[in-house]
C-alpha cells in the first residue's frame, strides 16, 4: 500500500494540521516507510482473537460528582492566549 499526496493532504485536514506541498511530500515518504513496517501485522491470523482495548480490564470506577477545587477561574484564564473578562476569545464563528 502506498499513501499518495492526496491522502496525506486529507489526513492533514482531518488532523487539523496545515502543511504545505513540500512538507506533505516528505511526510508522505515517512508515512510510507512506517506503514510498510506496520504491514507486518498482516502475517498474523487474528480471526478468533478478541481485541485488547485496555490492560486494566475492569469496569472503570465511578466517584461522586463533587466540586473539589476552589475557585480558580482567574488562574485558568491566565493561561488563555486571548480572553475578554470571563470568556475565551476565538475568531468570529457566526456571521
Amino acid at each position: 500500500m502506498t499513501i499518495d499526496l492526496k491522502t496525506v493532504k486529507h489526513i492533514s485536514k482531518l488532523s487539523r494540521i496545515s502543511i504545505d506541498d513540500n512538507k506533505a511530500k516528505k511526510l508522505g515518504k515517512d508515512l510510507n516507510s512506517i506503514f510498510s513496517f506496520i504491514e507486518k501485522l498482516n502475517e498474523l491470523d487474528t480471526k478468533n482473537t478478541e481485541p485488547l482495548t485496555s490492560i486494566a480490564e475492569t469496569t472503570l470506577k465511578l466517584r461522586k460528582d463533587e466540586i473539589k477545587s476552589e475557585n480558580i477561574r482567574e488562574d485558568i484564564l491566565k493561561n488563555s492566549p486571548d480572553k475578554n473578562k470571563d470568556f475565551f476569545v476565538v475568531p468570529k464563528v457566526v456571521e
Binding site: 482531518l14 494540521i17 512506517i34 507486518k40 501485522l41 502475517e43 481485541p51
Partner: protein
Amino acid sequence: MMSNITDLKLVELVDKIKKKELSSTEVTIAFIERSKKSKKLNAYISENYENAIKKAKIFDQKPDFKKKLPGIPIAVKDLFCTKNIRTTAGSKILENFVPTYESTVTQNILDEGGIVIGKLNCDEFAMGSSNETSYFGNVQNPVSENLVPGGSSGGSSSALAAKLTPATIGTDTGGSIRQPASFTGTVGLKPTYGSCSRYGIVAFASSLDQAGPMTHDVKDCSLMFEIMSTYDTKDSTSVDFKRENYLTNLNENIKGKKIGIPKEYRVDGMPKEIDELWEKGIKIIKENGGQIIEISLPNTNYALPTYYIVAPAEASSNLARYDGVKYGFRSKGENLIDMYEKTRSEGFGDEVKRRIMIGTYVLSSGYYDAYYLKAQKVRRLIKNDFDEAYKKVDAILTPSTPSSAFKIGEKLNDPVSMYLNDIFTVPINLAGLPAISIPAGHDKKGYPLGLQVIGKAFDEQSILNIAFALEKNISFKNNITDWWIK
C-alpha cells in the same frame, strides 16, 4: 565540600539529613550549584531554584524527619503538571502553560518532604527515543559529548547521571524510562500499568503511559517507587492493590526464583557485548541459586508495529485538545478552522505531527478495522505470550536496548531505525507489566549498557529484588568525567 554532597545517593542523603549531618538547605544548594554549572547539558527546561531554597530553609526551621524525602531536592520530567511551575511537555504549544493543579505523583513527592528544583527536558510530548524532538533543544549525555541521553526522559537521565538531582522521575510509554536509564548507566523502573497515578501527567498514549523512578541504584529506586505508587481515585485506571514497603522488603536472596530467557530477544545484528552482558546476568542468577528457564514469546516481532498503531492512535485523540483556545500557543487565522490548523502546524514539532497523522489515519473511516482493530488483537496475542510464560517463570531477563547510546543526529532522518531502539521495551508496555533496567556493563566505546528484568503484574518487589542481586554482583561503575564543567 559541595561536590561531596552531590556524590551521595538518595538513601544516603535521606539518612544524613535524618541524622542532622546535613541540612536540607545545604543539600538543595549543592544540587542547584552543580545544576547551574551544567547548563551545557541542557537538562533543564525550567528552574525553580530560588523557590526551592526558600522551601529548604522552611524545612530546616521545623524539620519533620518522619518524612521519606525530608527536604530532598528533586528535579522532575517536564511532563508532570506542577502547580504554579511552568509545564511544557517539551513543546512550543505549551511553552507558557502554568498548571493550576499538581500531578498526583509529584504531590506524593511533595507530601513526603521532597522539594522540586526544576523541570527536566524531554522529547516533545514524550514522543522520541533520543530527546531530539524537544522544542527546547537536544540534551547531552554526561557519558560523552554529543551523545544522546536516550528518550523520551532524556533530561531526567542526563540530570541524574550528571548528579544534578539525587533521583528523578520519568514516564514510560514504550521504553522512555528504561532506554534513557540504560544509555546513561542509571536505574529506571517502569511500574505495572495502574500502579502510579496518571493524573496530571501530560497524556501521550493513555493505555500505555506509566510514571516511574530513575535513580543511581536499586535501593533508591525502591524508595522512590514506594512514594510514587498510590491508589488514586482521580485516575480511573489506578488499581487498588496491596502496596509494599519496597525498600524495607528489598532482599537480594533470589534462591529458587525461576527466571525466563526469551529466545526471540536474540535479534540479528545485536552487538556481541550485549549478548555477553546477558550471559553475565544469566551466570549471576545461577550462582545465586536462581533457576534459568528458556521461554518463548513468539509474537515479540509484532510488538513494534502494534505499538506504532496503538500509541499514535491514542496520541492523536489525546492531542486533539491543543487547539489554541483555552491555553497554550495560538497562531492567527482567518477563521476558527484556519486558526486551529495554523496553531497546530506551528505549535507541534515534526515527530508529533507525524504521529498525530499516523493515528488519525489508522482511526479514520475505512482503515479502523485494518489497522487499529488489528493492532488491538495482536496486542492480546502479545499479552497472552507473557501470561503463558509466567506459568513457568517468576520473572524474565533480557537486555534493555539493542545498542548503546548513539550520536546526536545519527538516527534523526530515519524514523523506523529510531523506533527499533524500543524493541525490547515496547512489548512490556503493551502487556502492562513492570520492568526495571539496571546498568550492567560497557560496550567497547565505553558507553553503558543495561539489563532488563520484567515481572508479573504488580510484583515490583520481585524484580527489585532480582535487580538488587544482579547489581551487587555486577558492581557497575559509571566512568563519567565532568567534561561539561569548565
